[in-house]
């Protein structure tokens, strides 16, 4: 029987009369009922929209299911195709891992760098903060469309300006070597949210720490390295985990950019599955491939198998980061 902190002092059991005991039991049940009531939205939602689909996903991954006819048990066939025969899966996995290894650190560093720069500004801090935050508000579809247009190799302003400067601009979204970096550019443009978080965190670093390190003779870089970074390391961890979660779900920007850049705006050529990953599968990320197999190729069983793999990888990556974080994250204060 749980002893809540709601109501009542504790009395030794011998002093309690039967009535008292019954009353306390009733109170405890009421407490439990209350907790359940308060938790009910989440409990129902979790079961309906998370636990049940997860279990069903696992089940469907062993079936052949196109939703037009009932599921047919096929054992390991989907996984066999996934690991051995799907010509695009490993490209998709590599692309998503690329995001985790390249885009996330760049975003975190860039956001942190911007935040530090803003703290060093003497005038117009509010203006700078607003300017850096604004692009993060832009809806991803709008931002992607804008970038695809701006980075059009022939008519886009970026290459036009570069050509005035005598530089032959790359083909950006039309070049398989530049399409992911273009997406990185898009991602860096939108670091505003993370930057503001870092800004608040950096401003929260107690002055005494800076002052005492200055007295020890630390220059600006050293202060950054030994005071700022360790103190805000929990926020760094937060930003990294957030970035990794987003990288594992990365869909919208890739889908829109590939579709528009490949010029598949025509309706007769509604072969969208060819444009996904344009150009040459360089923007084919795992969630995009999953969507293609599940929702344009009628392969829901196979898509469920892909989902199971994604689940495993998400768990593994998040675990690795969090376990690794114990080495460099300091809660509540700086080193030295």
């Amino acid at each position: 029987m749980s002893q809540g902190s709601v109501a009542g002092e504790r009395l030794p059991a011998a002093v309690l009369t039967v009535d008292r005991r019954r009353a306390r039991r009733r109170a405890a049940w009421r407490r439990r009922g209350l907790v359940l009531l308060f938790l009910s939205p989440w409990l129902v939602g979790f079961t309906l929209f998370f636990a049940y689909p997860l279990v069903t996903s696992a089940y469907l991954s062993f079936n052949h299911y196109d939703l037009l006819s009932p599921p047919r048990w096929v054992g390991w066939a989907n996984y066999h195709y996934l690991f051995r025969e799907d010509p695009q899966v490993w490209t998709a996995v590599k692309n998503t891992l690329w995001l985790i290894v390249v885009l996330v650190p760049l975003q975190v560093l860039f956001a942190f760098g911007l935040a530090v720069m803003v703290t060093r500004a003497k005038m117009g801090v509010g203006v700078f903060r607003t300017v850096f935050y604004l692009p993060a508000l832009a809806p991803p579809v709008a931002a992607t469309l804008g970038f695809v247009y701006i980075l059009n190799p022939v008519t886009g302003p970026v290459n036009v300006i570069l050509s005035h400067l005598g530089i032959q601009g790359p083909l950006w979204f039309q070049d398989p070597h530049w399409s992911k970096p273009s997406l990185v550019g898009l991602g860096l443009w939108g670091v505003g949210t993370v930057m503001v978080i870092f800004l608040a965190a950096v401003l929260d670093v107690p002055r005494q720490l800076y002052e005492s390190s200055e007295l020890d003779g630390a220059g600006a870089w050293a202060r950054l390295r030994w005071v700022t970074l360790p103190t805000i390391s929990p926020v760094l961890l937060f930003a990294v985990v957030l970035g990794v979660i987003q990288a594992l779900q990365y869909f919208t920007q890739a889908y829109v950019a590939a579709g528009v850049a490949s010029g598949q705006a025509s309706q007769a050529a509604d072969v969208t599955s060819v444009s996904l990953g344009y150009p040459l599968d360089s923007t084919l990320f795992y969630p995009v491939l999953l969507y293609q197999h599940g929702f344009t190729d009628f392969q829901m069983g196979y898509a469920s198998a892909m989902a199971m793999l994604l689940l495993g990888v998400s768990f593994a990556v998040t675990l690795v980061i969090i376990v690794n974080s114990r080495k460099w994250v300091h809660y509540g204060g700086a080193t030295r």
């Binding site: 989440w42 979790f46 720069m117 935050y133 931002a143 247009y149 978080i197 937060f238």
Partner: protein
């Protein structure tokens, strides 16, 4: 502050101007800092400027390498509304965002309270489960959820093709909002709650009157984030309404804009601006709440 080892001049210490060399170096550093910031600021604003310029061009100009519109086609913005069912999209987006936001707030507050201020066995373990749900990509559960909605026909109503499958889950708590609210609730001193309990208030009453009022900034932040997130949502609406253009939200409509009636880049950019505008306007109106909310997310996280 007194100190036994004060320097002899402590009482008469006067701040002198640092030597000229140091002042000049500091000035140059400041100039360098601000130059970098200004350059970065220009880079950040540039895309907006380019998009606006293109939105004002004629179609042929948008297809050419020209940077400055000549003449300014202000009618492009009006054309967006006539060439595509823009208002329908706006309506659908607002319906989704508003209903979802209300749902998130109403359902997440009690849950967060239960994690923060009620004590029960296994509370922290279950909270970790909430967080774990946060970390999983939606693609993991998307296939069975779609099947579930496709097979569910109460009174012959079809959910696929409508926005309901996207709206309804928000009424059952959102992990991120629960997390944020819980962190904030934890900072509410227990004395307030105990005082109310002593007065005879039930927990529900406490939640509604005391906590809700104290946690207004956090709730506002949650509402703001929910609204923003649902306003920008693309994947889930694509899944459920992608084939039913009458229910498209702005993000889907915008991505399909170029293929509707063979519309061109200039109008697409005008539409892009129109989609970005409301969010930016809301930001300027609610700047304080925004920044506070973002700060809450990270620092209390």
């Amino acid at each position: 502050m007194t100190s036994a080892t004060a320097t002899p001049d402590a009482a008469t210490f006067v701040r002198r101007k640092p030597p000229r060399a140091v002042r000049r170096r500091r000035f140059l550093v400041t100039v360098a800092d601000h130059s970098i910031l200004i350059a970065a600021g220009i880079m950040f604003l540039a895309p907006f400027i380019f998009i606006t310029l293109t939105a004002l061009m004629s179609n042929d100009q948008a297809l050419s390498a020209r940077l400055w519109p000549h003449p300014f086609e202000w009618s492009n913005f009006a054309d967006v509304f006539t060439k595509a069912p823009f208002m329908t999209w706006v309506g659908n987006t607002l319906e989704y965002s508003i209903l979802a936001t209300i749902g998130v707030v109403v359902s997440s507050v009690p849950v967060a309270y239960a994690f923060a201020k009620l004590h029960w066995r296994g509370r922290d373990a279950v909270f970790i489960v909430v967080l774990v749900a946060l970390m999983l990509p939606p693609q993991v559960t998307v296939v069975p959820l779609y099947v579930m909605w496709a097979k569910f026909h109460p009174f012959g109503f079809n959910f696929i093709g409508t926005l309901w499958p996207v709206i309804i889950p928000n009424w059952f708590g959102d992990a991120f909002s629960i997390f944020l609210l819980r962190q904030f609730f934890l900072t509410i001193p227990d004395e307030y709650l105990d005082a109310a309990r002593v007065d005879g208030c039930g927990e529900v009453k406490i939640l509604v009157t005391v906590v809700a009022r104290l946690a207004k900034p956090a709730i506002a932040a949650v509402a703001l984030f929910s609204f923003l997130y649902t306003f920008n949502d693309f994947f889930l609406p694509l899944l459920y309404t992608g084939e039913n253009s009458g229910h498209w939200v702005l993000s889907i409509g915008l991505s399909e804009f170029r293929s509707l009636h063979q519309v061109q880049w200039n109008l697409t950019m005008a539409a892009t601006l129109l989609v970005m505008a409301p969010v930016i306007v809301v930001f300027f109106l609610a700047q304080k709440a925004f920044v506070e909310g973002v700060t809450l997310t990270g620092v209390k996280g």
